[in-house]
Structure formats: C-alpha cells, structure tokens
Symmetry: C2
Subunit: 326 residues, 2 copies
C-alpha cells in the first residue's frame, strides 16, 4: 500500500522505468501510442502521483514561483494574487505562497530561505520591505526576484508597482482642483512607498504655491486612521489624502464620532480603491491602483519577459470629496 512509483508501473506494464518516465513526462515522439496507453491506464489504476521532490532534484529546480506576502493591514492582496496566479499559469508555472506574518522580520527572512531552498524559478515579494540581510540573501541566490507593489528606488532591483510619486501628485492635484488648500497626507509610512508619495504630494502642493504641507505618519491601518483624526482636526485641514483605504475608513469613522461631517466638513480621498471604498458611507473617492495588473506584470518581470515597471492608476470619484465649505 505504499505510494506507487514508476517502478511499480514499469513492473506491471513490462517496460523499463525509462519508458514509463518518458510517457509520464509527455516526451511525445519518444514512445508509441500503444505503450503510452497501457502505461497511463496502469498509472491511473494505481493512483500514481509523481513525486515532485524527485523531479525537482533531478531537474535542479521547480517550475514554481514563490510569492512571499505579508498580512498588511490593508486588503488588496487578493487581486494581486489573482493576477500572479493567472499569468504564472499561462507561463506554465505553479505558485506557492509563503506567508510572512504582519511585517514580522524573522518570518519574512525565513520565507525567503524556504523559497531559496526549494529552488523556485522566481521569487515575488509583495508589500515586503526588505532589510539588508534579505537583500543580500536574494542577490546571492542567483534566483530572479521582484518586488511587487513596492519600488525600491533603483532600477537594479526588479519591481512592479504604481508610480507612487505620480499617484500622490495626481490625487493631491485633484483635491486642489476641488478648491482645497489645507490638505494633509495621512497614515503614510517612512519607507520607500511612503517617501515616494510624500514627494508627489509635496510637489503638487509646491506647484500650486501651497506652502503648508502636513504629513501625518502611520502604518496604513484602520487604527492609524482612527488615531490620526485628532491631528487632522487640530491642523484645521479641509481635505486629506489617506495612505490606504483602511486609513481612510479609520479617519471616516473617527470623524463621525467627533461629529465632523464627511465630506461637508472634511473631504477624504483614499489610496487603493478596493471594495472598502464602496462599503463606507459616504463611499470613498479614491486613486485606484490596478493590483491585478501589478500581479501579472510582476510575473512577467521575474520570468524575464517584457513588463511594465509602473502600472497606471486612475481616479474614481465617489462621494467623499467635495469643495471646501470656505
């Protein structure tokens, strides 16, 4: 009752394991239809399943892309995964997902090591901020890797994301076009993505001769949004650009508790554009990222195919932004 191997199939069908292997690996042209049929039938009857470990060992690598992902407080991951899975499957690659916890550096490092040990054909890191050690490990591995939804600021490291600088510029300009001048950027982190967005925000403010930039740092979470509402209020802002849909939702909830009307007293524009934007009342106007496409392009990139570095965003008007009360 042990797991059947090609040896068992060979014995039952009276051919060598080499022939069984050829048939099972679909090396067409290298076997007769007749033997193939016999072998396939026996394999099926035995409930044969190819041992991936053996295949990977002899082939020196698996046709698998490893996706390392962490539980961000935001919720866009499904779309990214969909895009990755689809494109990978078109390229004949499987996908295994390794979970890196919630920005847990030990787990993150462990996940990279696991991927390396499996000799995957590529490593995708979604919403992962690597430390120096991670980067060294990755670079020394000879396995192609690509950051997803994160741009490290250098063309030397593969990455696919929205153009966060442009994204923040566009969103800020949109708020300015609505007549706002006291605009804050809220819930943003201190790393790469965050700094790109700060720059874009800053540039838009400056281009419009608006001096008073207000940046309130946070971690993209709902809780950050809730917590930062007080500062938004203290600063007398009339509009905020929230670092994520969850931050926007947090600001919104807190505002309602403080009897601040959205959008009448405070306009909220959100970055991401996931379904969260439709769930809140009012619905959130957003700069929507194309996560599905980001996923697809990152597979192209890590597999050495032509790919976009930046995937375009678009502004989706809903109900949370209006001109300031003045």
């Amino acid at each position: 009752m042990a797991k059947p191997t090609i040896k068992d199939i060979a014995a039952q069908s009276g051919v060598s394991i080499a022939t069984v292997s050829r048939v099972l690996a679909n090396k067409s042209g290298s076997y007769s239809e007749k033997t193939a049929a016999k072998i396939l039938k026996i394999a099926k009857a035995l409930g044969y399943r190819k041992n991936s470990a053996a295949v990977d060992l002899v082939k020196k690598g698996a046709d698998v892309i490893a996706l390392i992902i962490n539980a961000t407080p935001t919720n866009f991951s499904t779309q990214i995964i969909d895009g990755i899975q689809q494109r990978a499957s078109e390229l004949g690659q499987g996908v295994i997902i390794l979970y890196a916890g919630n920005r847990d550096h030990a787990l993150q490092h462990q996940a990279i090591i696991t991927a390396l040990g499996r000799s995957v054909s590529g490593i995708l890191l979604a919403a992962i901020e690597p430390d120096e050690e991670d980067l060294t490990l990755l670079k020394e591995s000879q396995i192609p890797f690509c950051f997803v939804s994160l741009y490290l600021g250098t063309a030397a490291i593969l990455a696919v994301s929205s153009d966060n600088r442009d994204l923040a510029y566009q969103a800020t300009q949109y708020l300015i076009d609505q007549g706002h001048t006291r605009i804050g950027l809220v819930g943003i982190d201190e790393y790469h993505t965050g700094s790109q967005r700060r720059i874009g925000y800053q540039e838009a403010m400056t281009a419009n001769h608006l001096a008073s930039a207000t940046v309130l740092p946070g971690d993209y979470s709902y809780e950050a949004g809730v917590r930062l509402l007080q500062a938004v209020k203290d600063q007398g802002l009339t509009a905020v650009l929230a670092a994520s849909d969850m931050v926007a939702a947090g600001i919104l909830t807190a505002a309602q508790q403080h009897k601040i009307r959205v959008p009448a007293d405070l306009s909220i524009m959100s970055i991401d554009g996931t379904i969260i934007c439709q769930i809140t009342t009012p619905a959130l106007t957003s700069v929507t990222q194309d996560f599905y496409q980001i996923g697809r392009q990152s597979v192209n990139k890590v597999m050495g195919q032509p790919a976009l570095d930046f995937v375009p965003v678009k502004i989706v008007e809903r109900a949370s932004v209006v001109p300031p009360a003045d």
Copy 2:
C-alpha cells in the same frame, strides 16, 4: 559558481559528506564540536543552502502543511492563516499556501494534486467546498487532511469550524429577544455551511413560534447583499441575519440608497465579525467567529493532536440592531 552542496563543504573541510550532513541536520551527539564549528563556518562562507528537494526525497515527505484556500468574497482569511502559521511553527512545520482561485473547481483540484505530489505532512482546506473527486483523491492519498471553517456533516472527515447551526440559532434568538418577528436569513449558500445555518435559524424561529421563515440565498458577497435588499424590503422584514460581513455591508449600502434607515427601519446582524463591522456606519452587530482559533485547532487536528471540532462564537453588540419600530 554553481549552488554549493554538502560535497563542496566536505571537500573544503576534509571530512566526509556523512559528517557534514549530520552537522547540518543537527544530529547532536553524533559529531564533535570542533568539526561542527569548522563545517558550519565553511557552509556559511559558501552561502550553502540545503536543497529541500533532496531532503524531502530521502525523508519521504516534507515537514510542511499545505493550506489550500480560495478567494472567498469574505475577508476572514488573514486571521485563519495567522492561527495556522503560529501553531504549525510551534509544531515544527512549515506552511505553504496554495491558492484555489474564486471557487474555481479546476484550480482547487490542481491545488490538491500539487499538495499530494509534495508529500506534505497534512493538508488544510479553508473555505473549500470539495466535490466527490476531490474527496476521493484526498481519501486515497494517505495524507491527513482537515477542512477549515467548514463542517461536512460527518465525523469521518476531519473539520474545524464554528458550530454553524448553533451560531445561527444564537443570532436569531438575539434578534427575537430584541423584539423582532419578521426576520430573514440573507445571502446564504446551498452547501454545508449554509444548510447548517438554515437549520439553526429555522429552529430558533420555530422554538419561538415564529412561522414565517425567509431565507434569501446568495454567495456571501457584497454584491449579493446589495442585490437582495429589494427582496428584504418586499418581504417586509424588520431584521436580517446576514450570511457574512460583506453581505451585511451590501444590504446596508443598498438600504441607505433606498432611504431605509438602519437600524431604525431595518436591523442588520452580521455573521463573521471581521473589521468590516467597524468600518460601516452604523457599525455592525455580529456573531463573531474566532478565526484565529479555528486556524490553530485545524493544525492540531491535522497533526493528530487533541483539537476542538467547534470553536465557540460570541455575539458582539455594535450599532446595527435595535428593537423594531412596531
């Protein structure tokens, strides 16, 4: 520049590959500290990484649990994954996640085959409705498997979930205790989870001599909630038990568009209790499931450890349920 192997380490350190293997596998007591130190140093210098395929092959199996998960329209997966990862790591198991798309049967089947081919130590299926073929495959595999957040109605198949019958009973009773009599169960599927909840709902209605049960089927999605609001209205319900937080959010949004006040005109109680409940206005009263614990227990179960079949739920009162206007 090829990937270094134990052979390279053995050559450089002047010992046999057997000794290198023992040191690298931590077979303590079977080597001297001195050789160990030397070997470890060389391994590090070489950037040596153990080849998992080789290890899995000789050990006939990997210390890895495969988690097969689909992109449900709901969003509780992070908590389940957290629970699984933590418990697995305590038991010395890695976790690889295989994505089964959005209730995509082909992908789902493929994921099972992939897990089987990797000789994992256990398979966890989260929010997966198996078809006959899947079940046969799993049963014949000799690999333990356990359904997560789904009870198949038979003790013969391992599963960890909330007691969906009891959950629906409790929630319905809660609404009845608030004075509601025209209560609907909305957005529920036709499979196992759905039928358990129907039964609990029905039992609570009957136990309270409430005849007019209204069940509106759906797929747990936000869109289902939006779509079903019309029926809720037509049926003249004063309260609904929504099959998921997303369904509840959908009903809520649609209600607001129809000028139906929540909770004044319509009370909404939600099943799941994820962060979505805090984001909406009003916040959603819910029967909250303990997804983290469900994850942990499912690992225990699939690893043959003592484990709960059903993880307790609790009712969390927020702002979406009040007594009916009468």
